[in-house]
Amino acid sequence: MQRTIKQIIFIVALIVIWESVVRIGGWTADIMPKPSDVWQALVRGFEDGTLIYDLGASFQRLLIGLAIALLLGMGLGILLAKSKTADETLGSLILSLQSVPSIVWLPLAIMWFGLNEKAVIFIVVLGGTLVMTINMRAGIKNVSPLYIKAAQTMGSKGIDLFIKVILPAAVPYAVTGARLAWAFAWRGLMAAEILSTGPGLGYTLKYASDFGDMSLVIAVMILIGVIGTVVDLIFFQRVEKNVMRRWGLEAS
C-alpha cells in the first residue's frame, strides 16, 4: 500500500510541475501542451471514437502478429534445440538478426506486401519470433536431466518423453519468451504504424503530428505506455510468477 501511495503522489507532483512550468514559461500548445490539454485531447479522442477505433485496429494486428510469432518461435526453438546443425547455422543467424530492430525491415516489407496491414503484421511477427525462438531453444536445452532420467525409468521415451516431459518442463522459458515477444511486437507495431498506414495508434500519432496537434501526440504516447505496462504487469508478469512458483523456480 505504502508503495502505491508513493507512486500516486509522484505522478500527481509530476503533473502539477508540468502544468505550472508550461504556464510560467508561456509555451503554446503546439510546442509543449499542458497536462490539461493532453487530458482534453484524450477525452475528445475517446468521445468521438477515434482512439477506440485505433486501439481495436492496433490490437487486431498485434494479436495476429503475436500469435504467428509465438507459433513460429516455438517451432524454430524446438528445431534449434534438437538439431545441432540447425543450431550452428540458422541459430547463429537468428542471434545476429536479433540485433537488427524489426522496423528496419519495413521498406522491404512494403515492397513485398504493399503499404497495408500485411507489411505491419510482418514487422510484428519479426519482432516477436526471434526472441521467442531463443527462449524456446533455451527452455528445451535446459530441461533438468533428472526429469528425463526419472521419466526414462518410468518407461517414457521418444515422442512421448518429448511431449509429456520435455515440453512441459520448458514452459517457464516459453512464458518468459512470450512476455518478451509481446514487448518487442508492441514496439515494432507502433514504429510500423507511424511509418506506414492506419488505422492504429501509431498512425493517429503521425496524423496528429502532421497537423501540429501535440496534445493528441502526447495523449497517444501516454496511451501506448499505459497499455504496454498494463498488459505486462496484469497479464504476463502474473502468469510468469505463477509458473515460476509452480515449477519450483522461485521461493513462494
Binding site: 526414462q152 514452459v171 519450483g248
Partner: protein
C-alpha cells in the same frame, strides 16, 4: 539368480586419460532382499545403481535381471533419486499415474495411484502440487510413484540424503513398513553407515579408487532396529574400521592434488 551384476567394469575417458570408476563388481542379489550399497563419495556406488537402472552403460561385464540382460531403462526397475524428481506441472496423483497411463485405463490408474498414496500416507494430498509439499512428502510421493508401476526391483539413490534428521528417521520407519508389506527387492545406495545398518539385510561395503567391493556383510539383527543396540553398535565399529582406510585414501589424494596445483 534374481539380479546378477556379473563382473562389471566402468571407465570413462576424459581428456585422453582413462578413469577407472568401477572394477570387477560381482554381486548376486536375491529376490526380496534389502541390500544397501555403502561407500564414501566417489566410490561409484551411484554409477553402479544407474547402470542397474539402465541409465548408463557398463564398460564390460553384464547385469541381468531374472536372466535378461539390462541394456535400457525399464518399468521392471523403479528408481528413487536423491531429489524427488516429481513433475511440477502435474499434481501428486497425476505424478503417481505417470508410469501407469499407458498400461491401464484412467480409472484403474487412478485407483492404483490412490492405493500407493495411501501406503505412503498421502492420499489426502492427491490434488496438491509438488511445490506445496515438504521435502519428505515429495520423497514419499516419489516412492509411491516408483512402487505403483510394480517393479521387480526398487532402486534408491541416497533417497533421504537431502532430508533433515527427524524426517529421515521417520522415512526409515516408513520404508521398512513398505518393504515388509510389499516384499520388494530393494537396492539402496547410501553413505550413511547407520542408515544401512538400520534398514538392510545385507550391506555391500565399497572402497574407492577404483570403486570395488571390499566387504559383503549380512545383517542379522532383528527388526525394528535401534542404533544403540549392542550388535548394531558393534557392526558400525566394524564398518567404520573398514572404511577408514578408504576415506584416508580420498583425503590424501585430495591433499596431494592440492599440493600439485
Amino acid at each position: 539368480m534374481f539380479l546378477h551384476i556379473d563382473h562389471v567394469d566402468k571407465q570413462f575417458t576424459n581428456n585422453k586419460t582413462v578413469h577407472q570408476i568401477l572394477t570387477d563388481i560381482d554381486l548376486t542379489i536375491h529376490e526380496g532382499e534389502f541390500v544397501s550399497i555403502l561407500g564414501p563419495s566417489g566410490c561409484g556406488k551411484s554409477t553402479l545403481l544407474s547402470m542397474v537402472a539402465g541409465l548408463s552403460d557398463v564398460s564390460s561385464g553384464k547385469i541381468t535381471l531374472e536372466g535378461k540382460e539390462i541394456k535400457k531403462p525399464g518399468k521392471d526397475r523403479g528408481m528413487v533419486f536423491q531429489q524427488a524428481a516429481l513433475f511440477p506441472w502435474l499434481n501428486v496423483e497425476e505424478n503417481v499415474m505417470f508410469p501407469l497411463r499407458k498400461e491401464m485405463g484412467k480409472k484403474k490408474a487412478k485407483e492404483t495411484a490412490q492405493r500407493f498414496l495411501q501406503m505412503v500416507q498421502l492420499s489426502h494430498y492427491a490434488d496438491h502440487y509438488p511445490h506445496e509439499l515438504s521435502g519428505g512428502m515429495q520423497q514419499r510421493v516419489a516412492i509411491a510413484r516408483a512402487l505403483a508401476m510394480n517393479p521387480k526391483v526398487l532402486l534408491m539413490d541416497e533417497p533421504f540424503g537431502a532430508l533433515d534428521e527427524q524426517t529421515r528417521a521417520r522415512m526409515h520407519k516408513e520404508l521398512e513398513t513398505i518393504w515388509v508389506e510389499t516384499k520388494k527387492t530393494i537396492l539402496f545406495v547410501t553413505h550413511s553407515i547407520s542408515e544401512s545398518i538400520k534398514l538392510s539385510d545385507r550391506i555391500i561395503v565399497m572402497g574407492t579408487q577404483p570403486g570395488r567391493v571390499i566387504a559383503d556383510i549380512k545383517v542379522n539383527i532383528p527388526r525394528p532396529r535401534q542404533m544403540d543396540q549392542k550388535e548394531a553398535a558393534e557392526l558400525q565399529r566394524r564398518i567404520n574400521a573398514l572404511l577408514k582406510t578408504e576415506i584416508d585414501k580420498v583425503v590424501n589424494e585430495e591433499l596431494a592434488h592440492a599440493a600439485n596445483h
